[in-house]
């Protein structure tokens, strides 16, 4: 494969950083002045969904203008002349996750193609589970891929369709892809939003002064002062143009199975996803966790920031005091040099600091949103003990993570997932805690105010259950070839 050297390096990821990462956030707006400026704001609100890179494509009635940058939205699209650089009344935007290795501007979205009938820009959150098969077929037919992104396959399918109209071409392309995705596309005539047949990835519709807005989460609507209208339905395609908004159903009807991990970790707490407040769901996780895994402790301390709502729920349920026993350092930068002096590890201290006044001499219960490899937990627990805690108990506000994802969440290989390889007893010992507790799968559904239907689960919860909502063609092909293909393609480093 070709390699394009780029100057930008993403903020170094601590190799022991243990948070899962989502692929992307998308945004689109139609028929407003200064569409690029509004899109930049929307992307800023979605920055938590992807910090590596970002891009905006705008249409000004005559041509498309695109910019794609490594780095934060504020650095790339803040400042004064954006609406001159990217003029127009329609725009889409994208924020992209951070990979550990090489990152390439070629892979940054929105992607653009000049079709026979005009240009199309595409922004994509999610992952196609049949991308490798599609790519092999397309390349054998003469397609030249400029990126290693599965999003480009969609553009090639659109370009190669024999249908005359764009929506027909797009529909034909959608019918060939599999996986979880939210797509936002912009042509010279329309803005289109699509959510995969199961609604795995989220997409919402809002209005700003009567004009349509599409975004991954409602927090982007709040940022620009737009009003939330509704979620895009699973398997729905909305087309926004001078005629207004029309809804299409390009797929056979299915029951929805949105990703439950959006509630556990990815979505912002102030977002409302599929009709539920993320903050309230997380607090309910904490409340249920307190019922399922009580502990005799002095204080409840969140691992900030994602553990805060569940810790509050736990404290409110139990009446135990909630305290900020760990302080987050908001300034990050490149990795510092590990001092050779002594055996101290920088580890978690770059981001988290112990608040000795809260911890010293106490029996501390830590609440985290989830535990992936456990490396981070080991360090936090050690730090809390060194700050003088008498006991340290850990609670995960989600069930044990045991299976990899194939729909746009970057998790480590299965053999690195702590809970996939160890019992809770083992984990208690490995993490060095006095007690360890996970929320149950039923408890997670309780927090969603649902009861899991094992035949047709209301959410996709495969990370906890192994119950995948779609076939996994690329994985199956790879297994047929005796290739190890544990990870989804979106996260392969291209080299």
């Amino acid at each position: 494969m070709s390699q394009q050297h780029e100057r930008w390096s993403p903020p170094a990821r601590d190799p022991d950083d243990d948070t899962p990462r989502l692929e992307c956030g998308v945004f689109g707006i139609w028929d407003v002045p200064e569409a690029s400026g509004i899109t930049a704001l929307g992307l800023h609100a979605l920055q938590h969904r992807g910090q590596e890179a970002c891009g905006i494509a705008a249409f000004d009635g005559q041509g498309f203008h695109t910019e794609r940058h490594m780095g934060y939205v504020g650095d790339a699209f803040g400042g004064g002349d954006l609406n001159k650089r990217l003029p127009g009344r329609a725009a889409i935007g994208h924020t992209r996750y951070s990979t550990a290795g090489g990152s390439f501007i070629r892979n940054v979205q929105p992607m653009f193609a000049d079709l026979e009938a005009g240009g199309v820009a595409l922004a994509h959150n999610g992952n196609l589970t049949n991308f490798l098969a599609l790519r092999e077929q397309l390349v054998s037919e003469g397609a030249i891929f400029q990126s290693t992104s599965d999003s480009e396959a969609i553009l090639h399918l659109i370009a190669r369709s024999r249908r005359p109209k764009f929506l027909e071409r797009f529909t034909e392309a959608l019918q060939q892809i599999e996986g979880g995705y939210a797509l936002v596309a912009l042509t010279n005539k329309k803005l289109v939003g699509v959510r995969d047949p199961l609604g795995i990835r989220p997409l919402v519709l809002g209005t700003l002064d009567g004009k349509c807005v599409l975004a991954s989460e409602t927090c982007a609507l709040d940022m620009i002062g737009a009003t939330f209208v509704r979620d895009i339905d699973h398997g729905e395609m909305v087309v926004i143009d001078e005629k207004g908004l029309r809804s299409f159903r390009p797929f056979p009807a299915q029951q929805a199975r949105p990703c439950i991990f959006e509630y556990v970790y990815f979505a912002r707490p102030d977002s409302v996803v599929n009709g539920r407040s993320v903050y309230e769901v997380r607090k309910r996780m904490g409340r249920r966790l307190a019922q399922e895994t009580p502990a005799d402790v002095d204080v409840v301390v969140p691992v900030p920031d994602s553990g805060v709502p569940a810790a509050l729920g736990f404290a409110q349920e139990t009446g135990l005091p909630f305290e900020m026993g760990i302080i987050r350092n908001h300034y990050v930068g490149r990795t510092f040099i590990q001092p050779t002096q002594g055996e101290r590890e920088l580890g978690v201290r770059m981001k988290l600091a112990p608040n000795r006044a809260v911890l010293a001499g106490k029996r501390v219960l830590l609440v985290d949103d989830s535990i992936v490899r456990g490396t981070n937990s080991i360090r936090v627990v050690k730090m809390v003990r060194e700050a003088g805690a008498k006991e340290v108990h850990l609670r995960s506000a989600s069930p044990p993570i045991m299976w990899p994802d194939y729909y746009g969440i970057d998790m480590p290989d299965r053999d690195k997932l702590l809970a996939a390889n160890h019992s809770v007893e083992d984990i208690t010992r490995i993490l060095g805690v006095d007690s360890m507790g996970y929320l149950s799968v039923d408890g997670l559904y309780w927090a969603m105010e649902a009861t899991r239907d094992p035949a047709n689960p209301q959410f996709t919860d495969h990370y906890f259950t192994g119950d995948y909502p779609t076939r996994l063609l690329d994985k199956e092909v790879a297994e047929g070839r005796n290739e190890v293909r544990e990870r989804q393609l979106s996260f392969l480093v291209d080299a």
Copy 2:
């Protein structure tokens, strides 16, 4: 005056941003391998005391190596080759505040001078109240100032001293300066730390494997894994060299009057300042605030992040639920373009987002650490109302700010201080709240577990009382000349 154009622009400060800013953080370490790398970590932990610029000076036994950069510590001093760039077993470092206007690399510290007997590097947190007088005298004697920083005056005083030994020269210089300061100096033979006669600015001593460390706050000790030993005393000079640590008292003895605003806003909550946990003091402010200004509300919501401990204290005192009704966006960048669309103001939304699930339909009590001009409060209150709050009550965990500072805190002119110009009734109306409450000065001392002695206040609290702890020579001279000199020199934009 000369102007040196620089490429770097500090992150734009929202003109309505209402937080006071401290000048600087300082750090120093003696006789350890990789002193620069450790100093970089210490500065990272002190980043909250100054985000505009940072610098490190190291001594490698033969020469000094310095680097000074605009921007964050992590960007400037992260990465792999720092100990090669700045080799040596002794180093000092500095982080600097952000000004609204031009920022100049010339003003970044540590400052360095080649004296007859060898080099000296100096890092300074605070402000000299007689700097203009000193500068006039020094320039008339032929000194060439390369910066507009008051720190440079100290170097010139040292350079011009007729005393043979460095400590004598330094002492002679210290006896000529007035104001509040914590200084860290490095020569080829020693590391020196000084705290002003009243101990206005903080400075602590720690040990790392038996070697001495100086830092503005204990959180820097935690970051590098050092052990806290004690605060440097007010008016104390500590000299660290191959003989170990010696303590000197270059000034006549006085009662200490450390700055109480360190507890209100500046210091990190996990720091212990002058023997008191900042987090615990803030929680006590919230508890006392609840006693002094109760309210009939449904929920207590902090203005994050600095309002969190006081809000927790308020909630615990009253039994009201504590909720994260406002979510902070951790990603910042350059200012975005204000959309012309509609009348919505970006205002506070770039940094803070309303959590509707908590706020809608509720009687909300907001707790903030302090209110300076009130511009930020107006926007937060408006945002909370727009998110559906039924009532909005605001509480300030510190007393009304009525007087400017001259010791290193950048506050607006007196005519812009909300409480200096309006009654609480007016303020209630201006901020658009249902009720408004401030902590009393006595309440603030209660939180410090003290009772204010009006004859000899235990802390300097002039922002609230107008009771300045020193004479203000530059201000008096300016007033004698009928010049308006409301602001301390450190914050004048050099142009």
Copy 3:
């Protein structure tokens, strides 16, 4: 069309700069250690053929590595770690011309495609005369173009070929393109060089320690210490791989018609093009010019640097003294601000300075290589007069330029070509010279030691004669559509 904003701006081209510009230089090498480093050197020697951008693609036995940069070769590929960044024993490279307007990294070569059978990198000097037709057809078949470069069309033709082997695919693609070109392609198995059926653009073969090298000019061989072997023949394809070098003839046999402008302006004087020393040809142009257009003057002065050999030939033929009456400033940068002071124009003085000691009081004969729009000549003549010359006579060492090019030379539209619109008498007046003389077309052939065969000219000389060597499909189509398409596509600014 999409627009990708880039940070780099090419050195601003003086709007009155009057030099024609060539598109590119190409280079390739096979089976040597540190192939990228050698390619960088070769490109440095070809920098005169393109200053806007450059790129290298290397193959290391397993994968391709490419870098493409705006700016000079020395800036992009100098420095220490190139062979680590672009490892491998085979590499190709490209330098690209500078456009007046936007320049886009997407258009920089080598271009790369992942085909079914493996990757292919392509570097191209020249212009396809049927590119628009090919592009329309390819896009209608679903090809997605990522650039506006005609080189990409060749890649799409290769990718879409149904033939199984790369050489067959490449041959099939070559048989569909028209125009003038020298191509260098690299696959995981071979290095391929092709020259168009008429040999319009140059390409030479050399050896370095027995390994094959391809380059646009022999000066690149000299730079790397390689030995010149022979010119690639017109219509020849050479394939270099582990079996050695094989020669193919993918086109019907035709008489060669290499571009005569390579001798007039483009090639470096130390290069040997098609068996002739460029320096010697230029000197012969000057000698013949002296015979055809003698003048009664005191001194012969070249317009540096390209006029130097012809001026030497003129002086040697006539016995007149040759003097450096105009000094070239080798330091260039961004355009300076035109002072408003007085009416002086910066014009030519940024690059050329009058040497008064040579010019004052003299009858001066200036020799330039060619005159395109005449704007530069006007300024040089004016400058020489202001320096005190008594008379100024101008001689062009090439015939009047009257027709645009379609094979990779960027010339202005026909209505801007001075000689296409004015008689020599007019031109004498316009340029403000005492006499004006052009070399004749026959004189130019004499300098080439040839007699022009009007039925089958030995060189393509269409700029002087309008006798184009190929059909011009895109131009004809555009004229059929009543579109003005005076300029070749390679030079359209993409926006």
Copy 4:
């Protein structure tokens, strides 16, 4: 000493590069609109005197504005907004030489000081021979040096003078410095130019629309369209202000001894220095060289560019053909990696290419302006031989360089000067030439149309004769201390 790391690296100097380098060029203008823009142009014309860094200081009637940059004038001060960045009707500027090692923005000029009576900016070409002594004295009195530049000593002397008026202070400072220098200073009231008592370094006066201009060479006047008025006299101080131009003589009268190396190498050929055309002097050197060291050869070839005029003179004197047998590559960049392949050295080929058509089979006489260490000559000779020359003869258009300089020319230590350590016979063998010839000192004076007066030489020619025009205090002090101090301070790398 302190070290300030900077990002910019000067273009790497080939360790075998053999050209001497001059320290600086200076420029100043008074009372014109857009003074900065004109200064930038003037500096661009003086770029050959210093390529490392450049700076401009402008005064706008109220304050000074300065910018100092590493790199070329065109990069630093080209572009559109210079007159806004540096507004005012008066400005001075400086270009600075390139050192082999570290380069520091602190050392870039103009330097600036805020004196009691107002600001002063200073630009300096030359070197003080008593700088170390001055510096020691000033530091012992408490002066803080911010640079390692001798120019800063002048500012400190001005600042410390007890005289009330600026001109008196400046004069007092001048009377304490020794060496060779041309100074341009700007205050809020006047522009001042000074040439050292012997006129070692050049400085000329011109007018632009009746306003005064100062510049190192006349080529800067030509660039801005100004008219040459006269050289500033040796030991003259000109003061330009609202009263016009006044001339002062701050030093005792002495006979002038300008630097003869300006004619040999430094000045641009189109400049007129001390009343003599540099180009004509160089041609006369070549003519005399032909007389003194004739050779039986086929062709005269200059080592470009500085050898061109002498080679022309040589050819004209002898009637031998002058040919461009070596072609200069105008594109330079960072040093390329030396290929490990074979034994070929990149050496000189990065900059110079052999023109085989001229050289092959010929007896070649190369003319260079001067030979310092000989490393470059060895490579050029080797390259010319490898291009097929039958014989290679080398001529230096200046006498053997045998002594170091202390007045602003950066030459290697004496033990590295070829002619200081070897006879002409040795040199012939070392350089690998068939014959070697130097111009005689008398011949050099003949080229200047003078006869050398051994008692009072009309020029300083110490590089050839060891006859230094001033005492060398720093050198003497160092020798007294048994320190090796072969090199002048300006060229010491500060580290």
